[in-house]
Symmetry: C2
Subunit: 147 residues, 2 copies
Amino acid sequence: MFRWRGIAPATTRKFLRPMLETNGPDFSKSDLLPVIAQDAETGDVLMLAYMNAEAYAETLQTGRVCYFSRSRKKLWRKGEESGNVQHVKAIFYDCDADTLLVKVNQVGGAACHEGYKSCFFRQIDPKTGTVTVIGERLFDPKAVYGK
Amino acid sequence: MFRWRGIAPATTRKFLRPMLETNGPDFSKSDLLPVIAQDAETGDVLMLAYMNAEAYAETLQTGRVCYFSRSRKKLWRKGEESGNVQHVKAIFYDCDADTLLVKVNQVGGAACHEGYKSCFFRQIDPKTGTVTVIGERLFDPKAVYGK
């Protein structure tokens, strides 16, 4: 396979790199950008939610993840009800500047409002389409959210 | 912390679990659902793209990830140009049934059209907003895509 490192001297790479660097996610593309939350320690993908520019700015400022709730149409400070906040360990954005990845320390261990560690607690068998719950519940949603 | 496992006997859990199981992602919520691709071996989040119902069905059938390109408005068989296809190792969907997670074997090692392993090759410093390229280029996009 063609390998960049094999042909480009360090000076060329240094020259090319700044072309890709910008000022972070581009909220002019969309008011809401998807955000992947990943457990900083285990690498587990915990959830996907959305941020607007205000939620993003608050997240940077506080070091705690703030999303924008599409259903409630307002800022969603993750963990504000359950206490299961997400502390930011690192933030990344993608090549198109329209998706964010946050590596987090998930307080309480469970990111999902259904009580699972990850929102992706159901696996699909590609051959049969059968769905299997693969996660263990860490808390009872009724006890935490009272509904 | 309240723990589900501490109070619910296995029979209760078995009874409750099927309530959460459905028939997979719900494309009636949106024609396009976001899909997180994660390296099955390393746990690295590689990219985020979208699937419509047709792309999802093809992915299950072939075992190779097929997205729907929002810019080209057609099925996007990942790797069709670069050869860097993604073999499906496992598929999951989230609590709201509106996001997919695919664990993949990324052929060629690089998922990003910019030549990086992951599309999330730029890190943001939360305190300063400074962007740093943290990935190493594995291939030269010009050599692979001819543009």
